[in-house]
């Protein structure tokens, strides 16, 4: 799915994915985690990657089955080094209004990888109702 760098398109894409997640019987907590992580990934892609440029697009690829959900979000920006993002839970950053998106993705998903120089993020969530599975399979 390819969307414009606008929040209305974000909601439409997110809902299509969440409908699939619900159809496959994921738990409420897993659905919450996927919704949160995808929202953060799309927010980063639109705001930071594409800098809200209406001519730039965000590509969302996802695969949902009974065992796990895998989502890849790709923007048209120059990428970034995720290691250089400050820890938002550190005392000195706790009062900063921004900078929690990547930490939330990592906290709520089973696997998070930044690829392509940082302009792609791959998110994996195991369906805890289906039993354990190695996310790297």
């Amino acid at each position: 799915m390819v969307i414009r760098s606008e929040f209305t398109d974000l909601r439409r894409a997110q809902q299509a994915l969440l409908d699939e997640v619900a159809r496959h019987g994921y738990s409420e907590s897993a659905s919450f985690a996927i919704r949160l992580a995808v929202e953060e990934a799309l927010n980063n892609a639109i705001k930071h990657g594409n800098a809200m440029d209406p001519d730039k697009r965000v590509t969302i690829c996802y695969e949902v089955d009974e065992r796990c959900t895998e989502v890849t979000v790709i923007d048209e920006g120059r990428g970034f080094d995720p290691k250089r993002i400050p820890d938002p839970t550190a005392d000195e950053n706790i009062e900063k209004p921004c900078g929690r998106g990547i930490m939330l993705m990592r906290a709520y998903m089973d696997d998070v990888q930044f690829l392509g120089g940082g302009n792609q993020v791959r998110l994996v969530k195991v369906n805890d109702r289906h039993g354990s599975r190695d996310a790297s399979d």
């Binding site: 974000l10 909601r11 927010n43 009062e95 900063k96 921004c98 929690r100 998106g101 709520y108």
Partner: protein
């Protein structure tokens, strides 16, 4: 019970003298964070203290919504005000714990305690 439309954001303000309770219903994602920010900003400008966010019927919040709350915390502090959280759902409580924002926002299960603490 969850509201019929969990996606939309509902904000209802109840004043108790200088204090304010904001009943939040639905979701605070990217599309809704600006609405929460404006409401909190208005209460900050009115120098309310404390501002209690009733989260019993809020089922989702993303970093944009958390950011709006941190901004309100910083503004309220100028006049020794405080933002307090009332009855967050377990998933929302976990999110505040994960981000360590519990350090900024005290949580209460009782409205009276939230208003008078």
């Amino acid at each position: 019970m969850k509201p019929d439309n969990e996606e939309s954001l509902g904000l209802e303000v109840e004043r108790h003298g200088r204090a304010a309770v904001v009943h939040v219903r639905g979701s605070v994602g990217l599309g809704e964070a600006a609405g929460l920010r404006k409401q909190l900003c208005d209460l900050c400008d009115a120098q309310c203290h404390p501002v209690v966010l009733d989260l019993e019927q809020m089922y989702f919040i993303a970093s944009a919504g958390l950011g709006a709350m941190v901004e309100a915390h910083l503004k309220l502090r100028h006049h020794e005000g405080q933002l307090r959280l009332l009855k967050p759902q377990p998933s929302i409580r976990r999110l505040f714990e994960t981000t360590r924002l519990t350090k900024l926002f005290p949580m209460y299960e009782d409205a009276g305690a939230a208003l008078t603490a």
